[in-house]
Symmetry: C3
Subunit: 347 residues, 3 copies
C-alpha cells in the first residue's frame, strides 16, 4: 500500500504587464504558473495481473506566489464552483486499464483542451505567452468545461494502435429531473479526440459540446505539428505547430488559429507563437471583435526538473476589443504588452 507518489510543480514568475490608452493600467507582479501550472498531486497504480491495472490520480492546483488555491467545479455549472477552496481541481480520477485501453472516472481534462494545449509551443502554461485561443476564446479558460469536466466517464484508446490515439468523454451536470426544472441538462458534456502520430508528424482533431439552457457551448479544433531531426525528445529538433479553432456559445460564434515553433538553441528552447481570434459582435450586423497575439520566449534548462524562462508578448486589439495580459486593463482598440521572467521546478 506504499504505492503513492507525491508530485507537483512550482512555477513562479515576475510579470510586468501594460495596457495602453486612457483606460490602460500597468502592474509588476509576482505570478504563478507562467510556464507550467503550479500543482500538488498524489497518484499511484496497482497491478491487477494479465496486463490489467487500477490507478488513481488526485491533483490540486495552487498559487506558488501566495500559497493560495484553485477551486474545483463540482457540477460543470456556475453553482458548482467551490469558492476559494482547495480541492483536487486539476484531476480526481480512478481508472481501470488494460489491453483494451483505459476507462477513467471523475474529474479530468476535456478532449478539446488537449488539442489546444499540445499544439502550442507554450504548452499548458498560464503566463503571458500562453494560448490566446484558450485565454480569450469562448470555449477556454472562462468556460465551466473549457479545461476539465467533473462527473465524467472517459475512455482512452490503448497505446499500440500504430500511431493512432484518441479518447471520448461524457460528463454530467447532475441536475435532478423534476417537474418544473428547466435546466435539467445544464453542465452535461460530450467530447472526443482522435489523432495520428508517426515519423515526426502529429495531427489530431477534437470536438465537444456542453449543454446550458442559456445557450450550448460547442468547440472544435484541429492541431498539426512536425518535428525535424531527432524527434520528440525534450531537446529535439525544430518543431512547427499549427491549430485551427472554432467555438459557439448560444448563437455567438468565434474562430481563430495559431502557428508556432519550438526550437532547441543552446541549453534550452526558443518558443514563438502567433494567434488570431475573432468572435461575433454582441449586436448582429456590427463588425466582429478580433485580436491577435504574438509571443516569443526562451526556456533555459538548469536540469530535467528545473528551468528559467523569459517571455515577451503583445496583443493587438481591433476596434471594440480590449483583450489584455496579466489582468491589466487596456483600452478598446489599443494594444497590451507584457514581459515575464520565471522559474519552473518539477518534483
Amino acid at each position: 500500500q506504499s504505492s503513492v507518489t507525491v508530485f507537483g510543480v512550482l512555477d513562479t514568475s515576475v510579470i510586468h504587464a501594460q495596457g495602453s490608452g486612457p483606460n490602460g493600467g500597468s502592474r509588476t507582479q509576482m505570478s504563478s504558473s507562467g510556464n507550467s501550472f503550479s500543482r500538488l498531486g498524489f497518484r499511484g497504480t496497482e497491478d491487477l495481473g494479465g496486463g490489467y491495472g487500477a490507478g488513481f490520480w488526485l491533483e490540486a492546483g495552487l498559487q506558488s506566489d501566495s500559497g493560495g488555491v484553485i477551486p474545483t467545479n463540482v457540477n460543470n455549472q456556475l453553482s458548482g464552483i467551490q469558492a476559494s477552496s482547495f480541492g483536487f481541481s486539476r484531476r480526481a480520477t480512478v481508472s481501470l486499464f488494460g489491453p483494451f485501453g483505459e476507462v477513467r472516472l471523475g474529474r479530468d481534462y476535456t478532449p478539446t483542451f488537449w488539442n489546444t494545449a499540445l499544439f502550442d509551443p507554450f504548452g499548458t502554461g498560464g503566463g503571458i505567452g500562453s494560448n490566446h485561443l484558450y485565454f480569450v476564446g469562448q470555449g477556454g479558460l472562462g468556460a465551466y468545461v473549457g479545461t476539465r469536466a467533473s462527473n465524467s466517464v472517459g475512455y482512452f484508446l490503448p497505446a499500440n494502435l500504430g500511431g493512432f490515439y484518441g479518447q471520448v468523454m461524457a460528463a454530467s451536470g447532475e441536475n435532478v429531473d423534476v417537474e418544473g426544472q428547466p435546466n435539467v441538462h445544464d453542465g452535461d458534456y460530450v467530447g472526443a479526440r482522435l489523432g495520428f502520430r508517426a515519423a515526426g508528424f502529429d495531427i489530431a482533431g477534437s470536438t465537444g459540446r456542453a449543454q446550458y439552457a442559456s445557450g450550448d457551448l460547442t468547440l472544435s479544433n484541429l492541431g498539426v505539428a512536425y518535428t525535424f531531426g531527432p524527434g520528440l525528445a525534450v531537446v529535439g529538433g525544430l518543431k512547427l505547430m499549427a491549430e485551427y479553432h472554432q467555438d459557439k456559445l448560444g448563437q455567438r460564434e468565434g474562430r481563430g488559429g495559431l502557428v508556432g515553433l519550438k526550437w532547441p538553441v543552446g541549453p534550452g528552447m526558443v518558443k514563438a507563437s502567433y494567434a488570431y481570434y475573432e468572435r461575433d459582435a454582441l449586436v448582429a450586423g456590427q463588425a466582429d471583435l478580433a485580436s491577435a497575439k504574438m509571443a516569443l520566449g526562451y526556456e533555459y534548462l538548469l536540469s530535467k526538473r528545473t528551468s528559467l524562462y523569459a517571455t515577451v508578448a503583445r496583443i493587438h486589439n481591433d476596434d471594440g476589443t480590449s483583450d489584455s495580459l496579466g489582468g491589466v486593463p487596456t483600452t478598446p482598440g489599443r494594444p497590451a504588452t507584457g514581459t515575464e521572467f520565471g522559474i519552473t521546478h518539477v518534483f
Copy 2:
C-alpha cells in the same frame, strides 16, 4: 522523520435514483463514496520504547467525482462549519498509546457512530445501500456530532482484554462562559462504547449525548453479529448482523433497527440489509413518521485494494414521510428507488 504514510480511498460510482408521485424526480449521476468514503490521509507512529508510542492521523474527506471537498466542523455547532473548505474533516488526532490503551486528542469519530457502521453489511459507505438509521435518523449524518466530534479527548481500552473492547469520549463546543451567554454548553459531547468479541460472536452497545440550548441530542444503540465458519477474514463465512437504535432531539424521539448479512459468494460478497426508522410527528398526537429501506448488493474483489460493486435499494415511506435516495425528491408516502455501480480503490 520519514515515518509518514500517505493513504486514501477513491470510490466512484454511477447512481440512478428515482422518486415517485407528483413531486418525484429522477437523476443519473456520478457519485463519490458509494462503498467507502473517498479520502486522502497522512498518518504515522513513533516508538517511544517500553511498549509506548505516539502517533498522528490527518484524514481529509473528498469527492472523487469532482475533486471537491468535505468541510470540517470546528466547534460541533452550526457556526463551526468551514464552508466548502478542504480540511481534515474525517480525523485529526495526536495519540499516546501503551499497555494502558490509547489516549487520543482532536477530531475523531464518536463512539455511537462505530456501532451504527460496523454492524451494517454496507459498512461506512455513503451509497444507496448505506445505513438508513444513520442517513435519516436524528443522530446521524445531519447531526453536528452524528459522525465525529472536534475538540475531543478519547480513551480506548487496550487490545488484550480477552475480547472486551471499548472507548469513551468527551468533546467541547468551546463557547466562552461570559455573562449573558445562554448557549455556553452548545456542542459539548460525551459518549461511550463497550463491546465483546469471541468465537465468531460480536456484541457492542454505545450511547452519547450532545448539549444544545435548542434541545439536547441523545443516541443509544446496540449491535450484534455472528460469523459462521472461518471467521472474520475479508472473505470469511456468512455474517449476520443486527442493530437497535434510539435517538432523541429535544423532545422528539426516534427509534429503529436493522438486520443484515454479508455472504461470501464467488470472488466477492453479497450484502443485504433491511432497516426501519420512525420518529415522532412534529405535532404531538399525530402518527409517527416512518420509513423502511431494503438494500441488496454484490462487491466483486479485483484485488485486496480494488473492487467493483453493484447495489439496488428501495425506501418505503409511510404517509407523511418522504425519505429519498441519492438526493432525488420523492412524494410523501411514496417510495424511492435506486441502482448503483461503482469502483473502490484503496491506496
Copy 3:
C-alpha cells in the same frame, strides 16, 4: 523525482483561560499549536551541481483539535484573505541556492517575524505563553504582513560568513496602477534582518515597512541571547534572551520589550518570559495603553519528536487595556490568566 518529504507538526493542548471583572469570561477548551504551530508540509531539494541547487517548500497551517484550516492571504491586504480555505498559508516558495546564498520566491516569513520568534523562549508557539509583542502588538498576528508576505522575493546570505547571517525581502500587493486607483501600493512590503552569532552569543536586528493608504505599518526590533555551557543543542545550557520592539501603524506608535530564559532541567526545559507592550492612546493626549505578560512553562521531552508541556501565564492590564488569553474576554484594567497542558508531535 521521489525527492518529496512529507512533514508536519500536530500540537494539541487543553487551555483554561479566565478573564476578570464584570466582563470577564472563562473557558476550558482544546486548542491547537500551543508549543509549535500545527502544520502539514511538502518539501524537497534538487542538486544542480557545482554547489548549486533548487528547492521547493509548501507548508499549510492546520488546527489539530478540529481538522480545520488556516487561510492564506494572496495580496497582503484585507481583500486577499481566502476565507476559511486550506492553503499553503505558512510557506509556498521555490528557491535557487548556492555559494551566493539563496534566492526565494513566493510566500514566506517576513524578516521581522524571525526576530520576534527566535529570541523568545516560547518560540513560535501560539499558546498562552507565546510572544506578547507579537500577539498584541500592531505589527504582529493581526497585521497582514505581521508574520508572512505573499508575492515576495527574498535573499538570504550564505552560511559561511564567520557568524554573520541576514536576509532581505520585497513583496508586492499587486494592485493595478490605473487612473483613479488610490491604493496602488497597498500591500507592498520591504524588510531586512542582520545578525551575528558566535561563542554562545547571538544578536540580530530587523526592520520592515508595509504600505497602506489607510496608514503604513513599520516595525523594528532587536534581539539578543546568550547561552551558557555546551551551546545551542536542544538540551544545552541556560539561555537568556531579550527583545526590544517598536511599531507604528499610521500615526499610532507602540513599543515594548521581552526578557526570557530557557533552562534545561531533568528530561526537559523550563521556559520563562516577561514582556511589556504599550501603544499610543487612540485619542491624542490620553494615557498610553499598556499591558504586561508573565509566562512560566516546562516542556518534557518524550523523544526528539514528541514532548508534553505545561504553561501558566498572566496578563496585567493598565487602565483602558483589556488584553486577554485564549480568546476569553477580560475587563479593561483587569488581569487575564491561563493554564495549558499539551502535546507536541513532530513528523
